[in-house]
């Protein structure tokens, strides 16, 4: 396990700038989640740390020394790819044993057998060990590829949306399992996801990437409550933050053009009149889709609400977030 420091990391592919000047410290034992839409540079960051691509500029330090000149094998990192990484000509057992048989580790076979069995049990695939890798379902394949990382104790685990192809139940189980591994081994993780629950529940740190730039880095709570921009604010939160014209509810702080309202920022009972267009009962929560003038607003209400479409209610902002014309946050008082 080790601290990983990225400094000034820049990478272009042809004319496309994939990463520009990304600096980030992943403390030893941290679980860092990278958020951002497709093309933001999340996977590129993982590949640069793994050594699969070379940065155009900047440095990567793992455990105190620069690894820029090292091969992927020398860096001692484990990576779970989003897809395609099981060796199709090998059995599940040999796939899991593959990293342990490498010249870098060269573990004795009896220890390999033990380790493979342990990991297979964690991932609930011990009965599949002698299957060909290609004879597995998608979810099983992904579990094996996570297992191939877990058999090792690398300095950092790099995971590229490892749970995205799994069903909801298994995803929840593995989320807990990864968190347990993180807690028990004190392992360092850099984890890419689109999933807000994964980010909020597993991360000790969240980094938000936008077009190859790291726009904010902090605890999940900080990112959620104190986003630096409208872009960051819209990365986290289900339902998403409502971004509306700043003066919709009255005067706005100087320079503000947008008001950002998370569901909990909407106080019901007084203020502007809004009409309920749709009510979504999700079981544990109920979403209200409102219209206020020409604008749509989504908010939450208690699960057993008697409200129905066509009803009207009054809403006003409560501790909203303000953003200027370019989307940057403005620290302002509630008018």
């Amino acid at each position: 396990m080790a601290e990983v420091i990225l400094s000034g990391l820049t990478k272009s592919f042809g004319a496309t700038k994939a990463l520009s000047d990304v600096s980030l410290t992943i403390p030893d034992g941290a679980f860092v989640v990278l958020l951002g839409p497709t093309g933001a540079g999340k996977t590129t960051t993982l590949r640069l740390i793994a050594g699969l691509d070379r940065p155009d500029a900047g440095d990567i330090r793992i455990g105190g020394h620069s690894v820029k000149a090292e091969t992927p094998a020398q860096r001692d990192v484990a990576m779970v790819f989003q897809q395609y990484s099981l060796y199709p000509h090998l059995t599940v057992r040999d796939n899991l044993a593959f990293p342990l048989r490498s010249p870098m580790i060269a573990m004795p076979e009896d220890q390999i057998a033990k380790r493979v069995q342990e990991v297979a049990e964690v991932l609930r695939i011990p009965h599949k060990l002698d299957n060909k890798a290609t004879a597995l379902s998608g979810g099983e394949m992904q579990r094996v590829s996570i297992g191939r990382a877990l058999v090792r104790q690398p300095r950092i685990y790099l995971m590229d949306e490892p749970l995205s192809s799994l069903d909801a139940k298994l995803r929840a189980d593995l989320r807990i399992e990864l968190k347990r591994i993180h807690a028990e081994l004190g392992a360092t993780f850099l984890y890419v996801t689109h999933d807000q629950i994964e980010a909020m529940t597993m991360a000790t740190h969240v980094g938000v990437l936008d077009h190859g730039r790291l726009v904010q880095y902090g605890s999940p709570r900080e990112i959620y409550e104190n986003p630096v921009s409208a872009y960051v604010a819209s990365r986290l939160g289900q339902p998403r933050i409502n971004l509306l014209p700043a003066d919709l509810f009255g005067p706005a702080p100087a320079g503000a053009t947008q008001i950002g309202l998370r569901p909990e920022h909407i106080h019901v009972g007084e203020g502007a009149p809004a009409t309920i267009r749709r009510v979504e009962h999700l079981g544990d929560q109920t979403r209200l889709h409102l219209t206020l003038g020409v604008h749509e607003i989504i908010t939450l209400t208690n699960p057993h609400t008697p409200l129905k479409p066509g009803d009207s209610l009054h809403i006003r902002p409560q501790n909203p977030l303000w953003f200027d014309a370019s989307g940057n946050r403005i620290q302002g008082p509630t008018p």
Binding site: F98, P99, P103, I105
Partner: protein
């Protein structure tokens, strides 16, 4: 069930397809049957007209193929001790005795050395080159690939004279090494192009996973790429071997004694009183065997191999 189905062919078309396949197989196999059966005929049976389909089988052709024989004077022949072996007996029935072994054995061995040697070399070099073209940034990659392919754009025999002169100067004429290099040179473009297609189909992620799992680039190539390219390597090897094995023109031109392969040798088998057809047919039959065995051994890989790229699993 409807009368017409998109996926299931009708009975009539199944029958038609079956008849066509059987007819085609019959036409293709007829020359083979002819050659193999002629090898077991006696001299007169082999040239009888109309051709004999039912005949007394004889090993005369095979004995003649492997031996040289002489006719000796009648009184000497009568004075000979009884024949010691079955092949002595076969030869004596024609009133001759065995003078020594023929050169067929060593010609056949030459074919094996040159055919398999050049196939091996083409595959090793072709796989490495194809891997490099598939995975690395090679300057002028497209031009180089076209250049490699362009060596196939004219019949190799068109450059026979320059090669003949070159080989004479370099001392490569009539050597095994010379023939191996020549056939490798002809086959390598085919090997690079075929193998590049196969290697392109293997996702890079496998090697990247292996690199991260602690393997070097070459180990990843050996443990991850090669096993998955087995299909392509097998079918490419068969194509290379078939060319090198059957090649006739260069073999006639460039070899005479030392490194002569079987194709130019077989037609020169002459019996007493003219062409010894059973011996020629026996030679051709034996000559067919290695490629046939090689293909049968690799057929498991071949089926997906020749249709590569057509269907992605």
């Amino acid at each position: 069930m409807s009368a017409y189905s998109v996926t299931e062919p009708s009975r009539a078309s199944k029958w038609l397809a079956g008849i066509l396949v059987v007819a085609y197989a019959f036409i293709t196999l007829l020359p083979l049957v002819w050659i193999i059966s002629t090898g077991f005929k006696s001299g007169p049976d082999s040239i009888s007209y109309p051709p004999k389909v039912i005949f007394d089988p004889s090993l005369e052709g095979y004995v003649n193929l492997f031996t040289t024989r002489t006719r000796i004077a009648a009184e000497d022949f009568a004075a000979l001790p009884p024949p010691e072996t079955w092949y002595d007996e076969v030869v004596r029935e024609d009133g001759m005795v065995i003078a020594g072994p023929s050169r067929f054995g060593e010609r056949f061995l030459n074919s094996v050395i040159i055919g398999f040697g050049s196939t091996f070399l083409s595959i090793v070099l072709g796989t490495l080159a194809a891997y490099a073209f598939s995975r690395f940034k090679v300057p002028l990659k497209d031009d180089l690939l076209f250049f490699i392919l362009s060596t196939r754009m004219m019949p190799p025999i068109a450059v026979a004279i320059p090669i003949y002169l070159m080989y004479r100067e370099l001392g490569l004429s009539d050597t095994h090494l010379g023939m191996i290099l020549l056939y490798t040179g002809v086959n390598i473009s085919l090997a690079v192009w075929l193998l590049k297609g196969f290697i392109d189909e293997i996702p890079r992620e496998y090697e990247e996973a292996a690199l991260i799992d602690g393997y070097t680039r070459f180990q990843a190539f050996r443990k991850v790429v090669l096993p998955q390219a087995a299909t392509g390597i097998a079918s490419t090897a068969i194509f290379c071997l078939i060319f090198a094995w059957n090649e006739y023109a260069f073999a006639v031109l460039l070899t005479s004694g030392n490194a002569q392969t079987a194709p130019p040798f077989i037609p020169t088998i002459i019996g007493v009183g003219g062409q010894d057809w059973p011996a020629v047919a026996a030679g051709a039959t034996l000559f067919l065997l290695p490629v046939m065995i090689f293909t049968i051994l690799l057929r498991k890989h071949l089926l997906r191999g020749i249709t590569f790229g057509a269907v992605r699993k």
